[in-house]
C-alpha cells in the first residue's frame, strides 16, 4: 500500500497496532499492525503467529514481525484469547505491507473485556500522534 491510510472503522493503539471489533460478534476482534508500522519496517519477510488458544494481555507483546533490516514487537491493543491465526502469512508475509488492514491481518481473538476499547484511539486521534 503506497499511501498512508488509516480506516475509520478501526481502533488504534499508539504503538501502531489496530483492532477491528467484529460487527456481527462484538466479543471478537481482528488485530494487525498499521500502515505506519509496515512502512517503518520495510518489506516483511517473516511472521510466526502464536498458537490458537494463547492469551493476549493488553499493551503486552504477543508476536514479532520481521523484515530484512529489523524486527518489531506486535502489541495487543486489547486482551483476549486467540481463536484464529492468519495462516496465509507463512507463504506471503508481504501481505502485511500490501494490505495491512485486510489480507495482512494477524490474529483473531475472543475479547476478555470489551471495555478496553475505550482506551484506544480513533483514526483521527491516531493520525495526529504520527505528527505532520
Amino acid at each position: 500500500m503506497a499511501e498512508a491510510n488509516y480506516p475509520t472503522d478501526l481502533l488504534y493503539h499508539p504503538e501502531h497496532d489496530w483492532a477491528r471489533i467484529d460487527p456481527a460478534d462484538p466479543q471478537t476482534a481482528t488485530l494487525g499492525i498499521t500502515w505506519y508500522a509496515q512502512d517503518a519496517l520495510g518489506e516483511v519477510v517473516f511472521f510466526d503467529p502464536p498458537a490458537v488458544g494463547t492469551t493476549l494481555v493488553k499493551d503486552e507483546p504477543y508476536a514479532e514481525v520481521e523484515s530484512v533490516k529489523a524486527v518489531s514487537d506486535v502489541l495487543a491493543p486489547m486482551s483476549g484469547e486467540i481463536v484464529e491465526v492468519n495462516g496465509d502469512l507463512a507463504a506471503d508475509p508481504g501481505a502485511i505491507n500490501e494490505d495491512p488492514y485486510g489480507g495482512g491481518w494477524l490474529v483473531k481473538i475472543r475479547l476478555a473485556d470489551s471495555s478496553e476499547r475505550d482506551a484506544l484511539l480513533d483514526a483521527a486521534a491516531y493520525s495526529a500522534t504520527l505528527g505532520g
Binding site: 518489506e43 519477510v45 517473516f46 520481521e66 523484515s67 530484512v68 508475509p93
Partner: protein, 508 residues
Amino acid sequence: MSAIAELPLQRDHATTIFQKGAPGRRAFMCPELDVPAVDPEQLLPERYRRVRPPRLPEVSEPEIVRHYVGISKRNFDLDSGFYPLGSCTMKHNPRLHERVAALPGHARLHPLQDPERAQGALELMWNLQGALAEISGLPHVSLQPSAGSHGELAGVLLTRAYHEDRGETRHKVLTPDTAHGTNPATVTMAGLEVVKVATNAAGGVDIEDLRAKADRDVACLMLTNPNTLGLFDPNITEIAEIVHGVGATLYYDGANLNAVMGISRPGDMGFDIVHFNLHKSFTQPHGGGGPGSGPIAVSDRIAPYLPVPVIVRDQDGAFDLDHEPEGAGSKSIGRLRGFQGNYGCFVRSYAYICSLGGDGLKDASEAAVLNANYLLARLRDKNAHSPVAEYLPLAYGELCMHEFVLSGGPMKRTLQIKTLDLAKRLLDFGFHPPTVYFPLLVEEALMVEPTETETKETLDAFAEAIGAILREAAEDPEIARQAPYTTPVRRLDEVHAAKHPVIRETLG
C-alpha cells in the same frame, strides 16, 4: 545509463566447490596403515559407525587452488583499497605479524603444554597484559575473551559478581541510545535489563537524564568515549561521579580506543572495566569477519572476579597459569572459553606494540584524529565547489576525534538518493563505503573513520569521489539508485534471501 559490457568477473558465475570435481578425484594422500590390521567390529562396533560418508567434494589440489584463488578475486580487501568503516578501525595489517605468528614456537605450541615449557608464550602474554594496562590506566588484565562482544559479556558478568559479593542485587545497565548493538544483547545474556540514557544536543550523554536514571538498582553504565558519533564526551568526569555515587561501575567499550592512545586513558577518566578490540586498534587482521580478540582491563576492586586462568609470576621470574587464584574461596566468574584465549592474536598485537612503542601508539592516535578532521574539513569545504556540506552535514559537533558521522537526510530529500545509494555508487569508484545507518540516532547516517595509515592523497581522492557522486545525482539520481555497475555482482535481493533462506548447497 549507457550499457556497460559485462565485466569478466561478472561473466564468471558463482559455482561452489561442491559443484566441481569428479568421483575419485582427491588431494589428500593418507599415510599407510602401519599398525596390525584388526577386525573392524572390534575396533568400532557397527552400530556406532557412519553408514553414508559426508558428501564432501572430490577434487584435486590444482582444482582447490584455482577455485579458492578465483573466488578470492571477488573480494575487496584492505590491502587493495580504502576502508573508512566507522568504529571498525581498518588500519594497515603489517605482514611481519603473520611471519612471527607462524614461527613454530608460537604456532605449534599446544595449549596444555606445561607452563614451565611455555615460558615464552606466558611471558608474551604477561608483557601484552602490562602494555594494555599502561594504555588503559587499569592495572589488572585478562586476555581471555574471544572478541569485543565477548569482552563486554565478561565486563557485565564481572559487574554482577562485584555487586553480588557485596550482597547487592542490581538489575539495570544504562547505555546511551547511541550505543553499538552488541551492548544491549550482552546485558540481556547476563540476566540484566537495558535502560537507555538520552543524548544531549551536543552529542554527549544527557547529564540530567543520567542523574534521573542512576539509582541503586543500576549495576553499570556502559559507554564508549569517544562515542559512536566520534565525539569525546567533555562531561566524562561528572558522569563517572554520578555513576560511582550510586555505587555502580563504569564500563568502557574500547571500540574507539584508536582516538586516545597515549592521550587520554579510560582508567584516568574513571572507568572500572575496559575492553579492547585487538582486531581494531591493535591491527589483528579482520579476516573477513574474524578472528578477533577482546581482552579486558579492570581496577583493583574488580580484580578478584577476573576469569580464570590468570597468569602469575614468581619472584624468580617464572610464569605460571593459575586456575584457582585465592584458592578454594576464589571469587572468579570462572571460564569464558577453552584454554587461554586467542594467542595467535596476542602474538600479532604484541609485535605491533613492540614496533610502535609508547610514542608510536600516541603518534597513531594523533594521526588518526588528524586524518579524520582533515577529511571532514575537505568534505565541508565550500571553496572546493563541493556540494557535500549541503547534502551531507555533520550530525553533531564541529571537530571530531578519529571518526565522524554525517547525515544523509538533506541528500535524501533534495537529491532523491539515500545513504545506501551513495554507498553502492562508491563501490564503482573503488572505495569501500563508510559504515551506513549507524548510529540509529542520526538520520541516514554515514560514519567515516579513515585511520592513521591512510595518506592525504587517499583522503583527497575519497572526498573527490563523494563530491562527484553528489553532482552526478543532481543530474540523474537513477545512476546511484541502480549502482553498483562494476562489481562482481550487482545489487542483491536480500529480501528474497530472508524470506526463503537457502544456506547450503543442495546435493544430489
